[in-house]
């Protein structure tokens, strides 16, 4: 397996007034192999959605590279990338499916958007029905408008639209967040099935480590826009090396006594570039943590963590 996607030093900063910058994504590096699925977890404000949008090329990075099959597509401005050959290879499934569907269009025309058209002729209609079948959407629902569909059906339309572009890399940004567990279960099974049948490479953004465990081969933990830990999902969940990963796992319900993170999160606005950003909440902190940014170092096969106190 060769690397389909290489992310190097990827950063995104947003101006917040007064010349100050919010570092949403801050020097992220990782690789994704063809057919692999990577989970990205982190709390709100960790930059996981921004990272997903950078990779999906909906936002231009401030620095760093997004190499897709060796070509740095991160350097192509978003507006020009629309006409790029790789555009349709990378698709995103949006967070709240209901808002991500055009309310003026029927389900069928929403799916047809992914085909690159929005008019429905006999040929596209047949294609749309075929994809709808693939995502378990009854053909009788195709003429409904988004607001006439249930949350699970909306999610299926969103996935169908992304699949219609025949992507090779599918990025899912919390695709099941607003859904009931019973519906979430069917959507997760669908995603896993599609991944196999279409040989998709997946990036799965979630706040739920259990969901990531079921869907992904590897997991990346983000904290304030930086990679805290990345590695095979079983290894990271069983033997986390970064104190933040540990805290996330312990906070999952039923995992014994949760470690209550003391202190408050460091502000992502112009953070100290020579300190560990997690130091303010870390149980293992010592004076060295305030003097150096921890680099991502190898802690096992294919397993890396960024902590000075390993």
């Amino acid at each position: 397996m060769s690397a389909l996607l290489q992310i190097a030093g990827l950063s995104k900063q947003f101006p917040v007034g007064g010349g100050r910058m919010l570092h949403a994504v801050d020097g992220v590096d990782f690789e994704l192999k063809e057919g692999e699925s990577l989970g990205i977890v982190g709390e709100s404000g960790s930059g996981k959605s921004t990272l997903a949008r950078l990779i999906a090329r909906l936002a231009d990075p401030t620095a760093g590279a997004v190499r897709f099959e060796g070509r740095d597509i991160g350097a192509i401005p978003v507006r020009k990338f629309a006409a790029d050959q790789a555009r349709r290879d990378i698709q995103l499934v949006f967070q709240s499916a209901g808002d991500a569907l055009n309310p003026a269009y029927s389900a069928a025309r929403n799916i047809a958007v992914g085909l690159g058209g929005s008019r429905l002729n006999t040929e596209t209609r047949a294609l749309v029905e075929q994809i709808a079948g693939e995502v378990g959407l009854d053909a009788s629902l195709l003429d409904r408008r988004p607001h006439q569909l249930s949350g699970g059906q909306q999610a299926r339309v969103g996935i169908a639209r992304a699949l219609a572009s025949e992507p090779r890399l599918l990025i899912l940004d919390e695709p099941t967040a607003p859904l009931d567990v019973s519906v979430q279960a069917t959507i997760l099974k669908l995603i896993d099935g599609l991944r196999r049948s279409r040989r998709l490479s997946l990036i799965f953004v979630s706040h739920d480590l259990d969901v990531v465990r079921l869907i992904c081969d590897r997991v990346m933990v983000l904290y304030l826009g930086r990679v805290a830990e990345i590695g095979p999902v079983d290894q990271v969940l069983k033997a986390p090396r970064h104190p933040y990963t540990r805290a996330l796992i312990d906070a999952m319900p039923g995992r014994g006594k949760p470690v209550i993170l003391a202190g408050e999160a460091t502000s992502p606005i112009d953070p100290n570039v020579v300190a560990c950003l997690f130091a303010s909440r870390c149980s293992k902190v010592n004076e060295g943590c305030g003097k150096q940014r921890p680099p991502l170092i190898s802690v096992g096969s294919d397993h890396q963590a960024a902590c000075l106190r390993l």
Binding site: E43, S182, H207, A251, I260
Partner: protein, 325 residues
């Protein structure tokens, strides 16, 4: 219907055959249907179900904040020793029953300091001088682990994170020293670390004060981790009511089984996940069938022709199914 528990004199909440209807159509089935539920003092009970199951409606009824358009009907509804069907909720709200909502920032007045919110509640419940109330408010904020409570007294809700707002909401609910706390999806939308902290805090206060807690959640894992007893609702009915251990090891009702099977934390591999077919029924036609019949994998003729009655076994494990497992 028979009493669901033997010892009902000491119950903090006693509810018998409570139904809630919306609209006048005789064809329409009640949105909440003949629900009976007891909660003992100090008990932590989780109420779980999908959205639309009626769990929030039930919680709002107990707290006395039911939508006025709803028609309430029950044989018994005693909350903290008060027969609210006869006497109403006045005097109960905020004092004997505290409530925490999902979106607490929306429940706080954005132009009022958070300390003032607490002082307002204290003024309603206690007498005392202004300075003393301020002290008590700061103490209340500190008791929900709001760091730097003295300084935070003067903060506005918009300056606090979602988790901090939820702590303020909890402090407000606790200020009246309630004997029953209703927590309606208190951590939905919060980060997992914040969720753990808030729920640990609720359990800690429940234990320390001997306060009964009704935790409404869609997440069975939370119920398993934080409650002692789990009540499962489907389509406005309680289909199962059992201790946490009994529910997760030997649930009787197929809906509970399916819910557990749909929870990622309980599953080793994605293929083992079970979805629940269909959706909650629309309740718009009179039918003698079990409300779960159309989604059930054990359905037979009897389920479609006769409504199942609740059955309680020797351990107090209640379920409502013709084919319990």
């Amino acid at each position: 219907m028979t009493d669901v528990t033997a010892d009902n004199a000491a119950m903090l909440l006693r509810m018998r055959d409570l139904s809630i209807r919306f609209g006048d159509s005789a064809q329409r089935l009640p949105t909440v249907d003949r629900v009976s539920l007891d909660i003992a003092p100090g008990e932590i009970v989780a109420l779980v179900g999908e959205s639309g199951s009626g769990k929030s409606l039930l919680a709002h009824t107990i707290a006395g904040i039911l939508d006025p358009a709803a028609k309430l009907d029950a044989t018994t509804l005693d909350v903290a020793g008060v027969n609210v069907l006869a006497e109403g909720w006045d005097g109960l709200r905020g004092r004997r029953v505290g409530i925490v909502f999902q979106n607490s920032r929306a429940a706080l007045n954005p132009v009022r300091k958070i300390g003032q919110h607490i002082v307002d509640v204290l003024r309603a419940h206690t007498d005392g001088r202004r300075g003393a109330r301020r002290e008590a408010a700061i103490q209340a904020l500190a008791s929900v682990r709001i760091p730097d409570a003295v300084r935070r007294f003067d903060a506005y809700p918009g300056e606090l994170s979602g988790g901090m707002c939820q702590r303020v909401m909890l402090a407000l609910a606790l200020a009246g020293n309630p004997s029953l706390l209703i927590a309606d999806e208190p951590t939905t939308g919060l980060d997992v670390t914040t969720q753990a902290a808030i729920l640990a805090l609720i359990v800690e206060h429940a234990r320390a004060r001997g306060m009964a807690t009704l935790l409404i959640t869609h997440d069975l894992e939370l119920a398993r981790a934080y409650a002692e007893r789990v009540v499962v609702m489907h389509a406005g009915q309680i289909v199962e009511d059992a201790s946490v251990a009994a529910l997760f090891t030997q649930s009787h009702h197929p809906y509970s089984r399916l819910l557990i099977g749909a929870t990622p934390a309980a599953i080793d591999h994605v293929e083992a996940l079970t979805g629940i077919p269909g959706t909650i029924p629309a309740l718009d036609t009179q039918t003698p069938a079990c409300r779960f019949a159309d989604r059930c994998n054990r359905v037979d003729e009897r389920c479609r022709s006769t409504f199942p009655m609740p059955v309680i076994d020797a351990n107090g494990h209640r379920s409502m199914c013709w084919h319990p497992s």
